[in-house]
Protein backbone atom coordinates (compact mmCIF):
# COMPACT_ATOMS: atom_id res chain seq x y z
CA UNK A 1 0.00 0.00 0.00
CA UNK A 2 1.28 3.44 -0.90
CA UNK A 3 1.29 5.87 2.01
CA UNK A 4 1.46 9.63 1.65
CA UNK A 5 1.98 11.95 4.58
CA UNK A 6 1.46 15.65 4.00
CA UNK A 7 2.70 18.24 6.43
CA UNK A 8 1.51 16.54 9.60
CA UNK A 9 1.56 18.82 12.62
CA UNK A 10 0.86 18.05 16.24
CA UNK A 11 1.73 20.12 19.26
CA UNK A 12 3.24 18.87 22.47
CA UNK A 13 1.08 16.86 24.79
CA UNK A 14 2.20 15.75 28.22
CA UNK A 15 2.92 12.24 26.98
CA UNK A 16 4.21 12.37 23.44
CA UNK A 17 6.58 14.41 21.34
CA UNK A 18 5.36 16.97 18.85
CA UNK A 19 5.43 16.84 15.07
CA UNK A 20 6.37 20.08 13.33
CA UNK A 21 5.37 19.46 9.75
CA UNK A 22 6.31 16.01 8.51
CA UNK A 23 5.86 15.00 4.88
CA UNK A 24 6.92 11.78 3.24
CA UNK A 25 5.80 9.22 0.71
CA UNK A 26 6.18 5.49 1.28
CA UNK A 27 5.91 3.52 -1.97
CA UNK A 28 4.15 0.17 -1.97
CA UNK A 29 6.38 -2.62 -0.67
CA UNK A 30 8.92 -0.38 1.02
CA UNK A 31 10.51 -1.12 4.37
CA UNK A 32 10.96 2.30 5.98
CA UNK A 33 12.71 3.04 9.25
CA UNK A 34 11.90 6.07 11.40
CA UNK A 35 15.15 6.80 13.19
CA UNK A 36 15.79 9.42 15.81
CA UNK A 37 16.62 10.11 19.44
CA UNK A 38 13.87 9.85 22.04
CA UNK A 39 11.51 12.78 21.85
CA UNK A 40 12.04 13.25 18.12
CA UNK A 41 8.44 12.35 17.34
CA UNK A 42 8.97 9.02 15.61
CA UNK A 43 6.52 7.07 17.77
CA UNK A 44 4.01 9.91 17.53
CA UNK A 45 4.22 9.73 13.73
CA UNK A 46 3.68 5.98 13.83
CA UNK A 47 0.63 6.37 16.07
CA UNK A 48 -0.79 9.07 13.83
CA UNK A 49 -0.41 6.68 10.88
CA UNK A 50 -2.30 4.00 12.81
CA UNK A 51 -5.01 6.45 13.88
CA UNK A 52 -4.20 6.07 17.58
CA UNK A 53 -3.17 9.73 17.77
CA UNK A 54 -4.50 12.59 15.75
CA UNK A 55 -2.67 15.35 13.96
CA UNK A 56 -3.88 18.93 14.24
CA UNK A 57 -3.06 19.68 10.62
CA UNK A 58 -1.96 17.84 7.52
CA UNK A 59 -3.24 14.78 5.74
CA UNK A 60 -2.52 11.07 5.48
CA UNK A 61 -3.44 9.12 2.37
CA UNK A 62 -3.46 5.34 1.98
CA UNK A 63 -3.41 4.48 -1.73
CA UNK A 64 -4.68 7.98 -2.43
CA UNK A 65 -7.58 7.74 0.03
CA UNK A 66 -7.60 10.37 2.80
CA UNK A 67 -7.54 8.84 6.27
CA UNK A 68 -8.52 11.89 8.34
CA UNK A 69 -12.04 10.66 9.04
CA UNK A 70 -11.19 6.96 9.14
CA UNK A 71 -10.96 5.61 12.70
CA UNK A 72 -8.09 3.33 13.71
CA UNK A 73 -10.24 0.22 13.64
CA UNK A 74 -11.15 0.72 10.00
CA UNK A 75 -7.67 1.53 8.72
CA UNK A 76 -6.59 -2.08 8.37
CA UNK A 77 -3.17 -1.33 9.78
CA UNK A 78 -1.14 -3.95 11.63
CA UNK A 79 0.50 -2.47 14.71
CA UNK A 80 3.17 -4.22 16.75
CA UNK A 81 3.53 -2.47 20.09
CA UNK A 82 6.81 -1.93 21.83
CA UNK A 83 5.91 -4.25 24.68
CA UNK A 84 3.73 -6.36 22.38
CA UNK A 85 0.45 -5.68 24.27
CA UNK A 86 -0.66 -9.28 23.93
CA UNK A 87 -4.05 -10.03 25.47
CA UNK A 88 -2.89 -11.65 28.67
CA UNK A 89 -6.06 -13.58 29.36
CA UNK A 90 -6.11 -15.30 25.95
CA UNK A 91 -4.03 -18.13 24.57
CA UNK A 92 -1.64 -17.43 21.73
CA UNK A 93 -4.09 -18.87 19.22
CA UNK A 94 -6.95 -16.71 20.53
CA UNK A 95 -4.69 -13.67 20.42
CA UNK A 96 -3.92 -14.26 16.77
CA UNK A 97 -7.55 -15.06 15.94
CA UNK A 98 -8.84 -11.92 17.68
CA UNK A 99 -8.82 -9.64 14.64
CA UNK A 100 -10.86 -12.17 12.66
CA UNK A 101 -13.26 -13.25 15.42
CA UNK A 102 -14.48 -9.75 16.18
CA UNK A 103 -15.50 -9.03 12.61
CA UNK A 104 -19.20 -8.57 11.94
CA UNK A 105 -20.89 -11.79 10.91
CA UNK A 106 -21.02 -10.97 7.20
CA UNK A 107 -17.26 -10.36 6.96
CA UNK A 108 -16.14 -12.99 9.43
CA UNK A 109 -14.58 -16.15 8.02
CA UNK A 110 -16.10 -19.41 9.30
CA UNK A 111 -14.57 -20.78 12.50
CA UNK A 112 -12.82 -23.59 10.71
CA UNK A 113 -11.16 -21.16 8.33
CA UNK A 114 -10.04 -18.92 11.22
CA UNK A 115 -8.48 -21.92 12.94
CA UNK A 116 -6.54 -22.98 9.88
CA UNK A 117 -5.43 -19.40 9.18
CA UNK A 118 -4.14 -19.03 12.74
CA UNK A 119 -2.28 -22.34 12.53
CA UNK A 120 -0.79 -21.28 9.21
CA UNK A 121 0.42 -17.95 10.61
CA UNK A 122 1.92 -19.51 13.73
CA UNK A 123 3.70 -22.01 11.50
CA UNK A 124 4.98 -19.22 9.24
CA UNK A 125 6.39 -17.35 12.23
CA UNK A 126 8.02 -20.48 13.61
CA UNK A 127 5.85 -20.73 16.73
CA UNK A 128 3.46 -23.45 15.55
CA UNK A 129 3.67 -25.35 18.84
CA UNK A 130 2.82 -22.39 21.08
CA UNK A 131 -0.87 -21.95 20.18
CA UNK A 132 -2.15 -23.21 23.54
CA UNK A 133 0.15 -21.16 25.74
CA UNK A 134 -0.62 -17.90 27.51
CA UNK A 135 1.53 -14.78 26.92
CA UNK A 136 2.97 -14.96 30.43
CA UNK A 137 4.47 -18.35 29.55
CA UNK A 138 6.46 -17.05 26.56
CA UNK A 139 9.93 -15.57 26.16
CA UNK A 140 10.41 -12.06 24.79
CA UNK A 141 11.25 -13.24 21.30
CA UNK A 142 8.25 -15.56 21.23
CA UNK A 143 5.93 -12.80 22.37
CA UNK A 144 7.23 -10.60 19.61
CA UNK A 145 6.40 -13.26 17.05
CA UNK A 146 2.91 -13.68 18.48
CA UNK A 147 2.38 -9.91 18.30
CA UNK A 148 3.47 -10.02 14.66
CA UNK A 149 1.23 -12.98 13.88
CA UNK A 150 -1.71 -11.18 15.47
CA UNK A 151 -1.05 -8.05 13.43
CA UNK A 152 -0.62 -10.04 10.22
CA UNK A 153 -3.83 -12.06 10.75
CA UNK A 154 -5.98 -9.18 9.53
CA UNK A 155 -3.91 -9.02 6.33
CA UNK A 156 -2.91 -5.40 6.86
CA UNK A 157 -2.04 -3.13 3.98
CA UNK A 158 0.51 -1.46 6.20
CA UNK A 159 2.54 -2.94 9.04
CA UNK A 160 3.72 -0.57 11.77
CA UNK A 161 6.29 -1.65 14.34
CA UNK A 162 7.18 0.43 17.39
CA UNK A 163 10.72 -0.39 18.54
CA UNK A 164 10.17 -4.03 17.58
CA UNK A 165 13.40 -5.19 19.16
CA UNK A 166 13.56 -2.73 22.01
CA UNK A 167 12.74 -5.23 24.74
CA UNK A 168 14.94 -8.08 23.49
CA UNK A 169 18.51 -8.99 24.32
CA UNK A 170 21.29 -8.39 21.82
CA UNK A 171 21.63 -11.89 20.36
CA UNK A 172 17.89 -12.43 19.79
CA UNK A 173 17.74 -8.97 18.26
CA UNK A 174 20.36 -9.75 15.67
CA UNK A 175 18.65 -12.96 14.51
CA UNK A 176 15.24 -11.33 14.39
CA UNK A 177 16.46 -8.46 12.20
CA UNK A 178 17.29 -10.75 9.33
CA UNK A 179 14.16 -12.78 9.89
CA UNK A 180 11.81 -9.77 9.96
CA UNK A 181 13.36 -8.27 6.85
CA UNK A 182 12.88 -11.63 5.15
CA UNK A 183 9.25 -11.85 6.27
CA UNK A 184 8.55 -8.37 4.93
CA UNK A 185 9.82 -9.36 1.49
CA UNK A 186 8.11 -12.75 1.47
CA UNK A 187 4.71 -11.37 2.41
CA UNK A 188 4.95 -8.35 0.14
CA UNK A 189 4.27 -5.95 3.01
CA UNK A 190 4.64 -2.22 3.27
CA UNK A 191 6.24 -1.66 6.65
CA UNK A 192 7.31 1.23 8.84
CA UNK A 193 9.33 0.65 11.95
CA UNK A 194 10.50 2.97 14.66
CA UNK A 195 13.93 2.62 16.20
CA UNK A 196 16.54 4.68 17.98
CA UNK A 197 19.27 2.22 17.00
CA UNK A 198 20.99 3.48 13.87
CA UNK A 199 22.67 0.14 13.11
CA UNK A 200 19.27 -1.55 13.14
CA UNK A 201 17.75 1.04 10.83
CA UNK A 202 20.66 0.99 8.39
CA UNK A 203 20.76 -2.80 8.24
CA UNK A 204 17.08 -3.49 7.75
CA UNK A 205 15.41 -0.62 5.95
CA UNK A 206 15.09 0.23 2.26
CA UNK A 207 15.02 3.85 3.29
CA UNK A 208 15.58 5.60 6.59
CA UNK A 209 13.89 8.80 7.73
CA UNK A 210 15.98 10.56 10.36
CA UNK A 211 13.79 12.58 12.71
CA UNK A 212 14.79 15.32 15.04
CA UNK A 213 12.52 17.55 17.13
CA UNK A 214 9.43 16.64 15.14
CA UNK A 215 10.92 17.14 11.69
CA UNK A 216 12.46 14.87 9.11
CA UNK A 217 16.09 15.86 8.76
CA UNK A 218 16.70 13.57 5.83
CA UNK A 219 15.05 10.60 4.20
CA UNK A 220 17.14 8.38 1.95
CA UNK A 221 18.64 4.95 1.43
CA UNK A 222 21.03 3.88 4.20
CA UNK A 223 23.96 4.12 1.82
CA UNK A 224 23.23 7.67 0.70
CA UNK A 225 22.36 8.71 4.23
CA UNK A 226 25.70 7.53 5.51
CA UNK A 227 27.74 8.75 2.55
CA UNK A 228 26.01 12.06 2.00
CA UNK A 229 24.37 13.31 5.21
CA UNK A 230 22.36 16.45 4.53
CA UNK A 231 22.77 17.97 7.96
CA UNK A 232 25.37 17.81 10.71
CA UNK A 233 22.78 16.13 12.94
CA UNK A 234 22.39 13.23 10.51
CA UNK A 235 26.16 13.03 10.11
CA UNK A 236 26.72 12.73 13.84
CA UNK A 237 23.70 10.53 14.55
CA UNK A 238 24.62 7.89 11.98
CA UNK A 239 28.20 7.33 13.03
CA UNK A 240 30.96 8.63 15.18
CA UNK A 241 32.17 11.88 13.65
CA UNK A 242 35.16 14.11 14.20
CA UNK A 243 34.25 17.77 14.38
CA UNK A 244 36.83 20.38 13.34
CA UNK A 245 36.45 24.16 13.31
CA UNK A 246 37.17 25.85 9.96
CA UNK A 247 36.76 29.11 8.09
CA UNK A 248 35.26 29.46 4.63
CA UNK A 249 36.68 32.01 2.22
CA UNK A 250 36.41 32.20 -1.57
CA UNK A 251 34.66 28.83 -1.76
CA UNK A 252 37.39 27.06 0.18
CA UNK A 253 37.16 25.78 3.74
CA UNK A 254 40.38 25.99 5.72
CA UNK A 255 40.58 23.77 8.78
CA UNK A 256 41.90 25.92 11.62
CA UNK A 257 44.07 23.19 13.14
CA UNK A 258 45.38 21.79 9.82
CA UNK A 259 46.79 24.59 7.64
CA UNK A 260 47.48 22.26 4.70
CA UNK A 261 43.82 21.26 4.32
CA UNK A 262 41.59 23.36 2.09
CA UNK A 263 38.34 21.83 0.95
CA UNK A 264 36.12 23.25 -1.79
CA UNK A 265 32.63 23.99 -0.50
CA UNK A 266 29.48 25.84 -1.58
CA UNK A 267 29.12 27.19 1.97
CA UNK A 268 28.95 30.99 2.37
CA UNK A 269 32.08 32.72 3.66
CA UNK A 270 32.51 32.87 7.44
CA UNK A 271 33.04 30.53 10.36
CA UNK A 272 32.03 26.92 9.68
CA UNK A 273 32.85 23.43 10.84
CA UNK A 274 33.89 20.21 9.17
CA UNK A 275 32.59 16.73 10.00
CA UNK A 276 34.51 13.64 8.98
CA UNK A 277 34.36 10.01 10.05
CA UNK A 278 37.35 8.38 11.66
CA UNK A 279 37.99 6.05 8.72
CA UNK A 280 37.82 8.89 6.18
CA UNK A 281 40.84 10.67 7.62
CA UNK A 282 44.05 9.89 5.68
CA UNK A 283 47.43 10.09 7.42
CA UNK A 284 50.33 11.58 5.43
CA UNK A 285 54.00 11.15 6.34
CA UNK A 286 56.08 14.17 7.08
CA UNK A 287 55.95 17.02 9.57
CA UNK A 288 52.45 18.20 10.34
CA UNK A 289 50.07 19.50 13.01
CA UNK A 290 49.08 16.09 14.45
CA UNK A 291 51.09 14.22 17.05
CA UNK A 292 50.58 10.48 17.46
CA UNK A 293 49.70 9.60 21.06
CA UNK A 294 49.04 5.87 20.74
CA UNK A 295 48.36 3.13 18.21
CA UNK A 296 46.10 0.15 18.91
CA UNK A 297 46.64 -2.37 16.14
CA UNK A 298 44.37 -5.17 17.35
CA UNK A 299 41.14 -5.91 15.50
CA UNK A 300 40.27 -5.55 11.82
CA UNK A 301 41.18 -1.85 11.81
CA UNK A 302 44.02 -0.12 13.60
CA UNK A 303 43.06 2.82 15.84
CA UNK A 304 45.48 5.74 15.79
CA UNK A 305 45.03 8.29 18.55
CA UNK A 306 46.18 11.79 17.55
CA UNK A 307 46.57 15.07 19.35
CA UNK A 308 45.49 17.89 17.06
CA UNK A 309 45.75 21.31 18.68
CA UNK A 310 43.45 21.17 21.68
CA UNK A 311 41.57 18.13 20.40
CA UNK A 312 42.05 14.37 20.53
CA UNK A 313 41.20 12.70 17.23
CA UNK A 314 40.81 8.99 16.58
CA UNK A 315 41.67 7.67 13.11
CA UNK A 316 40.78 4.19 11.84
CA UNK A 317 43.27 2.72 9.37
CA UNK A 318 43.83 -0.49 7.50
CA UNK A 319 46.53 -2.30 9.49
CA UNK A 320 48.67 -2.75 6.36
CA UNK A 321 48.60 0.97 5.43
CA UNK A 322 51.43 3.34 6.25
CA UNK A 323 51.59 3.96 9.95
CA UNK A 324 53.42 6.66 11.86
CA UNK A 325 55.17 5.74 15.11
CA UNK A 326 53.94 6.89 18.48
CA UNK A 327 55.35 10.30 19.37
CA UNK A 328 55.91 11.31 15.72
CA UNK A 329 54.03 14.08 14.00
CA UNK A 330 52.18 13.67 10.72
CA UNK A 331 49.97 15.55 8.32
CA UNK A 332 46.28 14.86 7.62
CA UNK A 333 44.33 14.56 4.39
CA UNK A 334 40.83 15.82 5.23
CA UNK A 335 39.51 16.11 1.67
CA UNK A 336 36.55 13.82 2.43
CA UNK A 337 35.25 16.10 5.18
CA UNK A 338 31.85 17.76 4.79
CA UNK A 339 31.58 21.44 5.57
CA UNK A 340 28.56 22.93 7.35
CA UNK A 341 28.05 26.64 8.11
CA UNK A 342 28.18 27.32 11.82
CA UNK A 343 24.83 29.08 12.24
CA UNK A 344 22.83 26.33 10.54
CA UNK A 345 23.76 23.77 13.17
CA UNK A 346 21.30 24.63 15.92
CA UNK A 347 17.75 24.80 14.64
Amino acid sequence: MKVEVWDIRKSFSSERAALAGVSLTIPDGEFLALLGPSGSGKTTLLRVLAGLDFAEAGAILFDGRPMDAVPARERGVGFVFQHYALFRHMTVARNVAFGLEIRPRNRRPPAREIRSRVAELLELLGIGELGGRFPAQLSGGQRQRVALARALAIEPGLLLLDEPFGALDAQVRKNLRVWLRDLHVRMGLTSVFVTHDQAEAMEMADRVAVLRAGRIEQIDTPKRLYGDPATPFVHEFLGESVRLACTVQDGLARIDAVPSASIPTPCPAGPAFALIRSHEIELLPGPGPARVIAIHATGPLARVLLRLGEQDVEVLRQPDAWMPAAGETCDLDLSRARIYPLQASPR
Binding site: A72, R73, E74, H83, F98, R103
Partner: protein, 282 residues
Amino acid sequence: MNTVLPQRPTTEHWLIRAGLIAVTVVLLIVLLLLPLLVVFTEALRRGVPAVLAALEQPETLAAVRLSLLVAVISVPLNTVCGMAGAWCISRFRFPGRGLLVTLIELPFSVSPVISGLVWVLLFGANGWLSPLLNATGTRIVFAVPGLVLATVFVTFPFVARTLIPLMQSQGAAEEEAAITLGASGWQTYFRVTLPNIRWGLLYGVLLCNARAMGEFGAVAVVSGHIRGQTMTMPLQIEALFNDYDWIGAFSIAALLSLLALLTLVAKAALEWRIGRAGGGLL
Protein backbone atom coordinates in the same frame (compact mmCIF):
# COMPACT_ATOMS: atom_id res chain seq x y z
CA MET B 1 38.05 -22.19 57.06
CA ASN B 2 35.65 -19.36 57.71
CA THR B 3 31.98 -20.15 57.84
CA VAL B 4 29.57 -17.29 57.88
CA LEU B 5 26.91 -17.98 60.46
CA PRO B 6 23.44 -16.80 59.60
CA GLN B 7 22.94 -13.51 61.40
CA ARG B 8 19.82 -12.55 63.25
CA PRO B 9 18.30 -9.48 61.64
CA THR B 10 17.76 -7.90 65.04
CA THR B 11 19.94 -7.85 68.09
CA GLU B 12 17.38 -6.89 70.76
CA HIS B 13 17.17 -8.91 73.92
CA TRP B 14 14.81 -11.88 73.72
CA LEU B 15 12.63 -10.42 76.47
CA ILE B 16 11.95 -7.31 74.39
CA ARG B 17 11.11 -9.43 71.35
CA ALA B 18 8.84 -11.74 73.32
CA GLY B 19 7.19 -8.73 74.96
CA LEU B 20 6.41 -7.05 71.64
CA ILE B 21 4.96 -10.25 70.23
CA ALA B 22 2.84 -10.74 73.35
CA VAL B 23 1.47 -7.19 73.13
CA THR B 24 0.52 -7.75 69.49
CA VAL B 25 -1.19 -11.05 70.21
CA VAL B 26 -3.12 -9.65 73.18
CA LEU B 27 -4.25 -6.63 71.14
CA LEU B 28 -5.35 -8.92 68.32
CA ILE B 29 -7.40 -11.03 70.68
CA VAL B 30 -8.95 -8.17 72.62
CA LEU B 31 -9.66 -5.86 69.69
CA LEU B 32 -10.56 -8.29 66.93
CA LEU B 33 -11.32 -11.80 68.07
CA LEU B 34 -13.08 -11.12 71.37
CA PRO B 35 -15.83 -8.87 69.94
CA LEU B 36 -16.56 -11.42 67.27
CA LEU B 37 -16.72 -14.16 69.89
CA VAL B 38 -19.03 -12.04 72.07
CA VAL B 39 -21.43 -11.52 69.17
CA PHE B 40 -21.82 -15.22 68.54
CA THR B 41 -21.91 -16.36 72.19
CA GLU B 42 -24.46 -13.71 73.12
CA ALA B 43 -26.64 -14.68 70.18
CA LEU B 44 -26.41 -18.39 71.02
CA ARG B 45 -26.91 -17.95 74.78
CA ARG B 46 -30.30 -19.62 74.60
CA GLY B 47 -29.49 -21.95 71.73
CA VAL B 48 -30.08 -22.02 68.03
CA PRO B 49 -33.90 -22.16 68.16
CA ALA B 50 -33.97 -18.84 70.03
CA VAL B 51 -31.82 -17.27 67.32
CA LEU B 52 -34.08 -18.57 64.58
CA ALA B 53 -37.13 -17.35 66.42
CA ALA B 54 -35.57 -13.91 66.83
CA LEU B 55 -34.74 -13.74 63.16
CA GLU B 56 -38.30 -14.64 62.26
CA GLN B 57 -39.72 -11.58 63.96
CA PRO B 58 -41.60 -9.58 61.29
CA GLU B 59 -39.67 -6.41 62.06
CA THR B 60 -36.37 -8.22 61.79
CA LEU B 61 -37.37 -9.90 58.57
CA ALA B 62 -38.36 -6.49 57.21
CA ALA B 63 -34.95 -5.12 58.18
CA VAL B 64 -33.17 -7.95 56.39
CA ARG B 65 -35.32 -7.42 53.30
CA LEU B 66 -34.68 -3.66 53.35
CA SER B 67 -30.92 -4.12 53.72
CA LEU B 68 -30.92 -6.50 50.77
CA LEU B 69 -33.02 -4.09 48.71
CA VAL B 70 -30.70 -1.18 49.45
CA ALA B 71 -27.66 -3.29 48.54
CA VAL B 72 -29.28 -4.63 45.39
CA ILE B 73 -29.88 -1.07 44.16
CA SER B 74 -26.72 0.67 45.31
CA VAL B 75 -24.10 -2.00 44.56
CA PRO B 76 -24.88 -2.39 40.81
CA LEU B 77 -25.24 1.38 40.48
CA ASN B 78 -21.84 2.00 42.07
CA THR B 79 -20.32 -0.83 40.08
CA VAL B 80 -21.32 0.72 36.76
CA CYS B 81 -20.40 4.24 37.85
CA GLY B 82 -17.13 3.04 39.35
CA MET B 83 -16.17 1.21 36.16
CA ALA B 84 -16.96 4.24 34.02
CA GLY B 85 -15.11 6.57 36.40
CA ALA B 86 -12.05 4.34 36.60
CA TRP B 87 -11.97 4.05 32.82
CA CYS B 88 -12.12 7.83 32.32
CA ILE B 89 -9.48 8.51 34.94
CA SER B 90 -7.03 5.81 33.90
CA ARG B 91 -7.36 6.24 30.13
CA PHE B 92 -7.70 9.97 29.51
CA ARG B 93 -6.07 13.23 30.45
CA PHE B 94 -8.61 16.01 30.74
CA PRO B 95 -9.08 19.23 32.68
CA GLY B 96 -10.64 18.49 36.05
CA ARG B 97 -9.28 14.95 36.20
CA GLY B 98 -7.61 15.58 39.56
CA LEU B 99 -10.83 17.08 40.87
CA LEU B 100 -12.77 14.01 39.75
CA VAL B 101 -10.37 11.71 41.61
CA THR B 102 -10.79 13.82 44.74
CA LEU B 103 -14.58 13.82 44.39
CA ILE B 104 -14.67 10.05 44.05
CA GLU B 105 -12.71 9.75 47.29
CA LEU B 106 -14.80 12.35 49.10
CA PRO B 107 -17.16 9.85 50.80
CA PHE B 108 -14.12 8.20 52.39
CA SER B 109 -13.07 11.40 54.10
CA VAL B 110 -16.51 12.75 55.04
CA SER B 111 -18.07 11.56 58.28
CA PRO B 112 -21.00 9.19 57.58
CA VAL B 113 -23.28 11.39 59.68
CA ILE B 114 -22.65 14.27 57.31
CA SER B 115 -23.20 11.93 54.36
CA GLY B 116 -26.68 11.37 55.75
CA LEU B 117 -27.28 14.94 56.82
CA VAL B 118 -26.77 16.38 53.34
CA TRP B 119 -29.78 14.42 52.10
CA VAL B 120 -31.92 15.66 54.98
CA LEU B 121 -30.86 19.23 54.18
CA LEU B 122 -31.69 18.67 50.51
CA PHE B 123 -34.83 16.60 50.68
CA GLY B 124 -36.04 16.99 54.29
CA ALA B 125 -39.25 18.72 55.43
CA ASN B 126 -37.57 22.14 55.34
CA GLY B 127 -34.87 21.16 52.83
CA TRP B 128 -33.86 23.05 49.69
CA LEU B 129 -35.92 20.86 47.42
CA SER B 130 -38.89 20.35 49.76
CA PRO B 131 -41.28 22.58 47.72
CA LEU B 132 -40.65 20.41 44.68
CA LEU B 133 -41.13 17.21 46.67
CA ASN B 134 -44.29 18.46 48.38
CA ALA B 135 -45.75 19.42 45.02
CA THR B 136 -45.20 15.95 43.59
CA GLY B 137 -45.95 14.17 46.84
CA THR B 138 -42.74 12.13 46.89
CA ARG B 139 -40.95 11.27 50.08
CA ILE B 140 -37.20 10.73 50.06
CA VAL B 141 -35.95 11.30 53.57
CA PHE B 142 -37.35 8.90 56.19
CA ALA B 143 -38.18 6.53 53.32
CA VAL B 144 -36.45 3.93 51.18
CA PRO B 145 -35.11 6.40 48.53
CA GLY B 146 -33.23 8.28 51.24
CA LEU B 147 -31.67 5.08 52.53
CA VAL B 148 -30.57 4.19 49.02
CA LEU B 149 -29.14 7.68 48.38
CA ALA B 150 -27.16 7.65 51.62
CA THR B 151 -25.82 4.17 50.94
CA VAL B 152 -24.90 4.99 47.35
CA PHE B 153 -22.99 8.04 48.54
CA VAL B 154 -21.10 6.21 51.26
CA THR B 155 -20.16 3.22 49.09
CA PHE B 156 -19.38 5.20 45.93
CA PRO B 157 -15.55 5.03 46.10
CA PHE B 158 -15.06 1.28 46.54
CA VAL B 159 -15.24 0.02 42.95
CA ALA B 160 -13.52 3.05 41.39
CA ARG B 161 -10.73 3.08 43.99
CA THR B 162 -9.97 -0.59 43.40
CA LEU B 163 -9.99 -0.29 39.62
CA ILE B 164 -8.05 2.94 39.06
CA PRO B 165 -4.60 1.71 40.19
CA LEU B 166 -5.20 -1.65 38.51
CA MET B 167 -6.13 -0.10 35.17
CA GLN B 168 -3.32 2.43 35.40
CA SER B 169 -0.75 -0.29 35.95
CA GLN B 170 -2.11 -2.34 33.06
CA GLY B 171 -2.01 0.58 30.66
CA ALA B 172 -3.98 1.15 27.48
CA ALA B 173 -1.75 -0.81 25.08
CA GLU B 174 -3.94 -3.92 24.95
CA GLU B 175 -7.00 -1.80 24.24
CA GLU B 176 -5.15 0.05 21.50
CA ALA B 177 -4.06 -3.27 20.05
CA ALA B 178 -7.69 -4.43 19.98
CA ILE B 179 -8.72 -1.24 18.19
CA THR B 180 -6.04 -1.54 15.51
CA LEU B 181 -7.25 -5.11 14.97
CA GLY B 182 -10.69 -3.73 14.15
CA ALA B 183 -12.55 -4.00 17.47
CA SER B 184 -15.29 -1.50 18.30
CA GLY B 185 -15.39 0.32 21.62
CA TRP B 186 -17.80 -2.19 23.20
CA GLN B 187 -15.92 -5.18 21.81
CA THR B 188 -12.71 -3.77 23.24
CA TYR B 189 -14.34 -3.20 26.62
CA PHE B 190 -15.99 -6.59 26.93
CA ARG B 191 -13.27 -8.70 25.34
CA VAL B 192 -10.12 -6.98 26.59
CA THR B 193 -10.70 -4.42 29.35
CA LEU B 194 -13.24 -6.31 31.43
CA PRO B 195 -11.45 -9.70 31.45
CA ASN B 196 -8.27 -7.93 32.56
CA ILE B 197 -9.92 -6.22 35.51
CA ARG B 198 -12.44 -8.93 36.44
CA TRP B 199 -10.83 -10.04 39.71
CA GLY B 200 -10.16 -6.49 40.81
CA LEU B 201 -13.74 -5.59 39.93
CA LEU B 202 -15.15 -8.48 41.94
CA TYR B 203 -13.00 -7.43 44.87
CA GLY B 204 -14.31 -3.87 44.68
CA VAL B 205 -17.91 -5.06 44.41
CA LEU B 206 -17.43 -7.28 47.42
CA LEU B 207 -16.11 -4.42 49.56
CA CYS B 208 -18.88 -2.17 48.27
CA ASN B 209 -21.51 -4.75 49.21
CA ALA B 210 -20.07 -5.30 52.68
CA ARG B 211 -20.23 -1.60 53.38
CA ALA B 212 -23.71 -1.22 51.85
CA MET B 213 -25.09 -3.89 54.18
CA GLY B 214 -23.22 -2.65 57.24
CA GLU B 215 -23.51 1.13 56.94
CA PHE B 216 -24.93 2.69 60.08
CA GLY B 217 -24.17 6.39 60.47
CA ALA B 218 -25.43 7.87 57.21
CA VAL B 219 -28.40 5.55 57.12
CA ALA B 220 -29.33 6.34 60.73
CA VAL B 221 -29.67 10.04 59.89
CA VAL B 222 -32.04 9.58 56.94
CA SER B 223 -33.96 6.58 58.24
CA GLY B 224 -36.36 8.16 60.70
CA HIS B 225 -36.40 4.82 62.56
CA ILE B 226 -39.85 3.70 61.48
CA ARG B 227 -39.95 0.10 62.65
CA GLY B 228 -40.70 -2.44 59.99
CA GLN B 229 -40.39 0.23 57.29
CA THR B 230 -37.13 2.18 57.27
CA MET B 231 -34.95 0.04 59.52
CA THR B 232 -31.99 -1.70 57.95
CA MET B 233 -30.17 -4.49 59.76
CA PRO B 234 -27.65 -2.30 61.61
CA LEU B 235 -30.43 0.08 62.69
CA GLN B 236 -32.59 -2.80 63.82
CA ILE B 237 -29.70 -4.13 65.91
CA GLU B 238 -29.43 -0.82 67.73
CA ALA B 239 -33.19 -0.61 68.26
CA LEU B 240 -33.43 -4.12 69.70
CA PHE B 241 -30.37 -3.51 71.83
CA ASN B 242 -31.98 -0.40 73.29
CA ASP B 243 -35.09 -2.49 74.00
CA TYR B 244 -32.92 -4.92 76.02
CA ASP B 245 -33.76 -7.64 73.46
CA TRP B 246 -30.28 -9.11 73.64
CA ILE B 247 -31.01 -12.29 71.75
CA GLY B 248 -32.71 -10.38 68.95
CA ALA B 249 -29.93 -7.80 68.63
CA PHE B 250 -27.12 -10.30 68.71
CA SER B 251 -28.89 -12.67 66.33
CA ILE B 252 -28.91 -10.02 63.61
CA ALA B 253 -25.40 -9.00 64.60
CA ALA B 254 -24.31 -12.60 64.17
CA LEU B 255 -25.94 -12.70 60.76
CA LEU B 256 -24.09 -9.54 59.70
CA SER B 257 -20.82 -10.84 61.14
CA LEU B 258 -21.27 -14.07 59.25
CA LEU B 259 -21.65 -12.03 56.08
CA ALA B 260 -18.49 -10.09 56.94
CA LEU B 261 -16.57 -13.31 57.51
CA LEU B 262 -17.74 -14.69 54.17
CA THR B 263 -16.67 -11.43 52.53
CA LEU B 264 -13.25 -11.75 54.14
CA VAL B 265 -12.81 -15.31 52.88
CA ALA B 266 -13.89 -14.33 49.37
CA LYS B 267 -11.60 -11.30 49.51
CA ALA B 268 -8.62 -13.42 50.54
CA ALA B 269 -9.37 -15.87 47.73
CA LEU B 270 -9.57 -12.99 45.26
CA GLU B 271 -6.34 -11.46 46.47
CA TRP B 272 -4.67 -14.79 45.92
CA ARG B 273 -6.18 -14.97 42.43
CA ILE B 274 -5.12 -11.43 41.55
CA GLY B 275 -1.63 -11.97 42.90
CA ARG B 276 -1.26 -15.12 40.84
CA ALA B 277 -2.56 -13.48 37.68
CA GLY B 278 -0.04 -10.69 38.14
CA GLY B 279 -2.86 -8.24 37.80
CA GLY B 280 -1.04 -5.45 39.56
CA LEU B 281 -1.18 -3.82 42.96
CA LEU B 282 -4.16 -3.71 45.18
